[in-house]
Symmetry: C2
Subunit: 200 residues, 2 copies
């Protein structure tokens, strides 16, 4: 399998895919996409992903797979990054859907507004702060009694949630208020292939 | 396996689960949750899902699985509703993550504002209309050349997208503008167990 990631280095959704490939030792090429310059809306990009979002995984140059968490599943299934047990697999997906519905739209969007758009007075920020704090609270409650999101090792659920959580400060969130989340971030960081994402 | 769905009959996320159980012929009990009365925020409900959202699938009374699309995967894996092929499985997840990130937050939320909250002048509606139309456009483009979202039969990706799409008019969307989506909705409706969701 030959892999090319069409992604943005400072995007958590793209950084997830980089970490999974690095952990699995899968070689890949990275094609940097500048979303602020409209590079995810060109006819060439839309031919790969009509939804116009990064990342896209190009497989053998002919198959184009969008949606970061679907890419994680594609790469991880059959490896230690995805458990075999039926309920554990559903739990991995539970946390990944939580990430895309309740976490990313608050924490990543607050970061995007502050760090990419540089609009610290954006009227959306107070509501995003509230929703992001709720998501971090749900994580804190789980991690108070668990080392990992599912089972006893790092899975793609941890990678999905690590991506934007370890840069939550970029969006104005104070991680010191979430000690179990902070301990889990440190635990993730000790795993080979789990790396810090650049801040734009 | 004994299943109880803690859900709201008029919620698409809950209706997905009902359809999957009906298609698979799995017996279940339905416990109606009135989210507008705060029934998804009680201590008892939060013990099942700390994120305070319907649906939750209770399995054998002791295991509580939230996130509609994770429930669909749990129920569907190993049946005809989830394909065996690695790429096809990732495609199912691709469309389900699309549904939760790009479709539901526009089309379901517009419906919620209009039909549950009865606020037809809500200032969020114009932006939701734009984002919902974009999501329907992505579906239309795919369905113009495919009968189903993945492969040659109904999968949980179709169920996930059917749930709010067949009630998109409740949110102010005109499905007549999407002929391939409309034909796919009719195709879904011919499958046993695919049923109309009540409008509140």
């Amino acid at each position: 399998m030959s892999c090319t990631v069409h992604g943005t280095a400072a995007s958590g959704n793209c950084h997830k895919v980089r970490m999974a490939l690095d952990i699995l030792g899968e070689p890949y090429e990275w094609r940097e996409i500048d979303v602020l310059k409209g590079e995810s809306r060109t006819p060439e990009f839309l031919a790969m992903n009509p939804n116009g979002k990064v990342p896209v995984l190009a497989i053998d140059g002919v198959t184009f797979l969008p949606e970061s968490n679907a890419i994680l599943w594609y790469l991880g299934e059959g490896t230690t990054l995805v458990p075999d047990d039926r309920l554990a697999r559903a739990r991995v997906l539970q946390w990944m859907f939580f990430e895309q519905y309740s976490h990313e739209p608050a924490i990543a969007v607050a970061r995007f507004i502050r760090c990419f758009l540089k609009r610290n007075d954006d009227p959306r920020l107070p509501e995003l702060a509230k929703r992001g704090a709720a998501a971090l609270g749900v994580m804190e409650r789980h991690l108070a009694t668990h080392d990992w999101f599912v089972g006893d090792r790092l899975t793609i659920a941890d990678l999905a949630l690590f991506a934007y959580t370890h840069k939550a400060a970029d969006g104005g969130f104070d991680l010191a208020r979430y000690p179990a989340v902070s301990a889990w971030l440190a635990r993730c960081g000790q795993q080979g292939g789990v790396t810090e994402m650049p801040t734009p």
